[in-house]
Point group: C2
Chain length 325, copies 2
Amino acid sequence: MRELPGPDLAAGTSALQRQQALTKPAGSLGRLEEIAQFLATWQGRHPPRCDRPRVAVFAGNHGVAAQGVSAYPPEVTAQMVQNFIKGGAAVNQLTAQIDGDLRVYEMDLQRPTADFTQGPAMDEARCARAIAYGMMAVEQGIDVLCLGEMGIGNSTSAAALCLALFGGEATDWVGPGTGVFGAALERKREVVTKGVAVNKALLNDPLHLLRALGGEELAAIVGAILAARLARTPVLLDGFACAAAAAVVQALDARGLDHCLAGHLSAEPAHGKVLDRLRLKPLLQLDMRLGEGSGAALAVTLLKAAVACHTGMATFGEAGVSERQ
Amino acid sequence: MRELPGPDLAAGTSALQRQQALTKPAGSLGRLEEIAQFLATWQGRHPPRCDRPRVAVFAGNHGVAAQGVSAYPPEVTAQMVQNFIKGGAAVNQLTAQIDGDLRVYEMDLQRPTADFTQGPAMDEARCARAIAYGMMAVEQGIDVLCLGEMGIGNSTSAAALCLALFGGEATDWVGPGTGVFGAALERKREVVTKGVAVNKALLNDPLHLLRALGGEELAAIVGAILAARLARTPVLLDGFACAAAAAVVQALDARGLDHCLAGHLSAEPAHGKVLDRLRLKPLLQLDMRLGEGSGAALAVTLLKAAVACHTGMATFGEAGVSERQ
């Protein structure tokens, strides 16, 4: 794989220096200070900006949904895409709040991936096409890219990716998703265990693992994360499915997520475990578990606040405020 | 005390009913759903609104600051007020982010309260005047009131209020504030212990306790919380000093904070303990410890997001999305 660009330490240092001169006790803006420095470091400029956020939502359908792993029927994926297009979903309202640009990427919804309990979900060509499609979400001029997904069955696919990448048992990675409990949850666990067993021969290579157990929208997120790094666009990840896709990037390159922040810790139980493995500390924790980019879009409000404080505050010198005794 | 108005259960129920019809799995917007219902309940209307937030910052000076309990000299209070007025502080940038109306209430800065290690900080008249002044921050037409404070020495005053209200030892409630450590922190603990001992005779009544150990800006916050309740204006509390003032309201009336949310959990160690006693779960946790209303103002972004989702999303019926199987 092409070498990914590293941090712009000069821009990061400029941010840190300004931070220290602003009219507040050192460090008292906490993670807002970290965010400002992070954005400068990964945008490669000081001051950082957060005027043009984009929210990219990828939608895909999963063959494994036929196994009854979701509380909702598979046609909901396409119905929700229409809802995004008409402006009726949560992510529409949240994108409007941040003056963002919402892009919805509908991926082959009429042609679900194969059921991964029978063999790989995608062949190499299909997975590569999905990754390339995800890369198209990155364009010049975007200050931060929020990644989200929609896909009935994709928390099952995400759990399978995690089991294959991190080990353990299906029960470590399988949760209620849209809301399955009891016997249906047990069925979901069995499906994940079986998917990993059936595809065992493909799981030593992250890209084969992705095509075996992932879906098109998750492969697209992998592509978008990589393209954003190349374009010096910081990324905000959303929930569990998004984090599982990000974990594939980490498997490809241990530093591959250094330009990413986790927007929100989902109520989906496995999300926190994945974020721990990715060494990402979520910005928000509001018991949301919706996906569709909602947690990432909401976290942009914090990025905007961080940039506003960083660029708008007076320094001790400018304001004539006494420094520490 | 005049009886405080209770919740508007009809408005809250309308919010809950709409929430359940929106195009998302039930409960999947987590605390954003709670917030929408809370705002409806305490604004007494459905749908709730968050177009007109006000941020009220009260500034006062503390006689106890002469004991060397802060990392900054007392003149910083007045200097920071000038910084607020000129637009250079963090709270100015954060208020602009939420299209809010920032009001700064400068309280007798040239005349600090008495040093509470020698006797009560305020006489009854001065404390009553400060409470009444705080009430003026509430006007018709405000959708949410964010309360904040500025006052060199006020984390010492807040710690003394907590020790008097909740018991324990000074060490349970005294933290670094603007940044005191080692011997200075030990001194701060001694000052708090002494203040509570010296004023012991006044501590059985919440209002006497407030005048003995509080400051004008903290008394003003007590007044603002009560006035907001009477005006059906929900309140966002800020950090540790603000929570200590709120604890006085709780001591006056066990339901007195039902219209309040905690915007942010501060890095000041005692803040979480106070919020536990107040049964308030903070919306944000970003390691901030600045005061001046910063955590409350930042949390308004979540209230706006909650209202935007609640009012802007389509219902399952409107969007033609299938419900649960």
